[in-house]
Each structure stands twice: as C-alpha cells, then as structure tokens.
Symmetry: C2
Subunit: 322 residues, 2 copies
C-alpha cells in the first residue's frame, strides 16, 4: 500500500464520528423569520450538503435550491433563507453569491472553517478546519440541518439520527465492500446511477472518483438515462467503462423494474455492479449509499497509484486564476 501520505483512509473511517460532532455544533442556534425558499450556495464538496438538504426536505412545502455559480437567482428576496457554504471560506463563487444575497436582504447563515466568508458574515457556523472540503461532508451538511431543526423549519426524529450513526459505525462493512468495487473497476471509467431522487448520492461517487482516485467518472439517474444515455451503450465495450447502480429499497417500483431491465440490456456491453443502501430512515439510506463510494474511491486511488488526498491540479488552477 504505497501512497496515502495524508491518511485519507483515517479521515474516511472517522466519518461517523465527524457526523456526531457536526450534530452538536449548532446546539441552540436558530434563525427567526418566515421563509418561503431556501437557497444553498456552494461549490464542489461544499455544495453537496445543499443537494442532500434538497432530498431531505422533499416533503416540505419550502423549495430548496442549490446555487453553484457566482450569481444568485433573481427570485431570491428577503423571505429567502440562504446558507453560504464554503469549507475554506475563500471560494470565489460562493463569496460572490454571498455578497449578492446580502444586497437583496436575504437572511444568510455562513458555514465555514474560516476565511473571508467567516470574516464577512454576521451569522457563522464555524466548523473544524484541516480537512479536504470533500472529506468534510458531515460538517457542511449537519449544521445546516441543525439550524433548520432549531428554527422549527423541519423535524428530524432522534431515532433517525441514531439509526444512521449505528449503520455508519459498522465501518468495516463499507470498507471491504468499497475495496471490492474498486478491484472490479480496475482501470475502467465508472458510470454511477441512482434514482433521480437520490441523484446526489450517485454524483458524490462520481466526484470522489474524480478527486480521490484522479479517475474520470460520470453519473446519471433513472429513469432519465432510459431516455437517452442507454442508447450510447451500443458502441461501448467492457474494456473502457463499468456501470454501478445504487439501489434503494424505497425506489419507485417502476424505477426498480427499469433498473432490472436496464441491467439485463447493457450487460452485454459493460459489467454492472449493484450497491444497496442500508437502513429504514432516509438519512441512513443517503449516507450509507455515500459511504460505500467514499471507500471505493479511496481504494481506486491506491489501484491507480495516486495519493488520494492532494488535488494538485485544482490547486494549480486556483493559483493561475489569481
């Protein structure tokens, strides 16, 4: 096992503990006001918590928008609750969006470990620094959830939190499953699929393969992929690509059937691997789905003989942008 200089494995193994710590960070912290929209501004790993919030709030009457851009939507107004999430606090897109939101008198909560964002914000949830942003998903998601619970905007059952922590704590199961998947991928490009509802889980796998494994990786969702992407398999081959389906017992019955039939159809063109989320509650199902992929991306990094932690190209790009 040659290259894991910054101990990404340890950080991934520590994820259940990170979630637990993150849940404590917003004790007693709330916002007042009547909101008819929630907007989460962020990029990369720091935007993912917003995507997860969108899934989690699917039963709410308040729509959630995730903005990965320099600009905020024109419908953002004083009845909008904005979370500006930047792990470093120096993400230029998020800072630009934050400033636009301020001008429009939105109520803004910043989630950051420091940087300009911490300096410029009135309401800051300070999260621990020293991690890669993508490795801090617990810190960028649960504080947002915490504030919304404290502000009576959503409810989260304690049993749900407990189930999630219990499931994630069985770290070795995820670890060995992830290692297994990485072995099967070999040097091929993984394409990850889930239901449209859990699309962010598939997107997380993709980005972890990109950043940790330095591998190309793509994603799409069911049933939309049945209307276009599936046709592309006609000219594909088992040497170049591999497909991974993330399945959830609460997937719509038609989506389940679509996944079964799609697997059957594309199996002559690619190897298909299936991963099943765990748990009864939504939080467990989301985070168990993600946790397999985190380990898979770690082991694919080792197989690719790259250090999972540094993303040198992204750092270089940022320098050139200055």
């Amino acid at each position: 096992m040659p290259i894991d200089n910054s101990n990404m494995l340890k950080v991934i193994e520590d994820f259940p503990h990170q979630c637990k710590t993150a849940l404590e960070l917003t004790k007693g912290m709330s916002v007042s006001g009547k909101f008819n929209k929630i907007i989460v501004c962020g990029m990369g790993g720091s935007a993912l918590g917003g995507d997860l919030l969108k899934i989690y709030m699917h039963k709410s009457k308040i729509p959630v928008f995730v903005v990965r851009d320099y600009k905020v939507p024109n419908f953002l107004d004083e009845n909008t609750l904005v979370f500006a999430v930047s792990y470093s606090g120096n993400t230029e897109e998020t800072l630009a969006a934050f400033e636009e939101a301020q001008k429009k008198n939105a109520k803004i909560v910043a989630v950051t470990s420091g940087g300009d964002l911490a300096y410029k914000s009135k309401r800051v949830i300070k999260i621990p620094s020293g991690l890669q942003p993508r490795a801090a998903l617990g810190y960028t998601f649960f504080p947002v959830l915490g504030v919304l619970v404290n502000s009576n905007i959503i409810e989260v059952d304690n049993d749900e939190i407990q189930e999630m922590l219990d499931i994630l704590s069985k770290t070795n199961e995820f670890k060995s499953a992830g290692e297994n998947i990485a072995k099967k991928i070999k040097s091929r490009t993984p394409i990850i699929y889930s239901s449209d509802f859990l699309g962010t889980v598939a997107y997380r796998w993709k980005t972890q393969f990109n950043e940790n494994s330095k591998s190309p990786a793509f994603y799409h969702t069911f049933s939309e992929m049945n209307h276009n992407e599936i046709a592309g398999y006609q000219t594909m081959g088992k040497d170049k690509f591999m497909s991974i389906f993330i399945r959830d017992k609460n997937d719509n019955e038609r989506i389940k059937k679509r996944m079964d039939i799609t697997k059957e159809i594309i199996s002559s063109k690619v190897d298909v691997e299936e991963v099943f989320t765990k748990g009864e509650f939504l939080l467990s199902r989301i985070f168990s789905g993600i946790y397999y992929g985190d380990f898979a991306s770690y082991y694919l990094a080792l197989a690719n003989r790259v250090d999972p932690t540094p993303v040198t190209v992204i750092e270089n790009l940022k320098k050139k942008l200055k």
Copy 2:
C-alpha cells in the same frame, strides 16, 4: 454515406422552419391566474424545453422547476402553473406526474402530439406528430414560451425571435461546423462543457450524441467541473476522450478565464474543441449552441455507421416494461 434511412438530416435542417411553425401554434392561447411557481414535467427530449425555459426565465421572480420523475414536488399547489410535456403523450413518468398535479389542483397545460396525455388533459397544445421526440425541440419549447407571453408572465422581444430565426437559417454554417467536430471526435467519447447557466445546451449535445450517434457522451459545467471533474483528467488519455467547450460571449468573465486555464491544463490529456454561440439575444445564443451539436451528432452517427433515427434499445426497453 450509408445509413440515414429516416432522413434525420432533413429533419435537423428543417429546424428553423419548425421553430417558426411552433411559434404560431399558441396564437391567442393563454392561462389566467396568479402563479408563483412554474413546473415543467417531462422526460428526455420532452424535458429539455423546460430546462431552456428555466434559462430563459432567469430574470423572472417566478422560479421554474423541471421534474423528470413519476412524482411532483410537495410544494406544488394551486398557485403553480404546470406544463406536462410528452411528445408521444404516452410517457409513463409524465402521465404519473400529470395525474398527481391534477389532484393538487394545479393549472396544467399539456404539450403533446396525442396519446393519453391529450386525452386526459383539459388544456392541450397539440403539436405535429411523426418526429423523434428529440427532433421536436422547437415544438416542445416554443408553445410553452408562447402561452407564457400571451398570459403576460414573460415578455419576448420580436427582434429576439427574428435574430434567432435569421441565425439558424444559415443552416450550412452549423452543418459544416458540426461535420468538422464529428470528424475530430472519431471514435472517442465526447465530454461537453458549458457555463452552469447554459448547462442545458451542453446536456443537449450529450443526449444527441447518445441517441443519434449511439455513442457514450457526458457533460458537466463551469465552474463546478473545476472543483472535481478536472482532477479525473490526470489518468485520462487522448485515445479515449475528447472535450468540447461551448462558449458564450456573455459568460461571466471569471468563467471565461476558468475555461481558458482549464483548456491549457487538460490539453496534455485530451484534445479540446471550442464552439462559440452566435447572436446578441439569449434565444439565438441558446439555439445556435444547440444547433451545432445536432449536426455534430448526426455526422458522428454516420462515422459510427449507425442510423441516427431509430433508438431501438429505448423501444425494446419500453416493451419489456409493459
């Protein structure tokens, strides 16, 4: 040139005329009511018009949502204007969403050439049948725009329409540029990028390569790709992938700089091709960006020796789903 049995080339060439016809379809047709949300339900090619509407309405105070699923969001209510778009009128996801929206007393306009959707809807915009849904983008987008203009929900300048028709009418420019791009792609997998704002244009290219060319194809947007996907280029090679940047003169200056630097960085790993949208107005820029890709996907089909029109695998899947 062996295989174009159903004359997809002619259908693509006819697109400016299709747009013109589509613009006439809703003369005098409007909806009454005060709406604070617009939801477009559809799948595949029939959902794309909704995505384009979202771009087009970026200055509006009314948010636009596109639903590619069996279910509608929980915040859909009687103040929501819903467009149910299904070219065939028999798309099961769209029909399910339509029925849910009906139960919630939303005002619904159906856009379809027939099928169950035409049968079940009170308000129908009937569009001409006989095309592949993806080839009917003019028919699925402009009638929606027309109803919104007639209902005083948005304004569209006549000069904007005229500029778009003038630009698209120079069909041969798009055709030869598209042919050129297809030649450069060869048997590699194209990855298409645009700004986040114009992301649907990049997605359209991807889906056209999937359906017309039967080729794998993927897409992502700037600057999000700078936060993850770019790291995957480390293990990529010029033999497998090729990247296409769709650029727009109104792209944010930082996005422009990011595209320049990204091109420089990834050029050692892939060939990068740039395509520039045309025109001053947004409609021209959107549809010129799309039109290049439509032709490119056609010529890539010929290079792949596949008939661009039938998507047999999608038809087979639908049969198995019954």
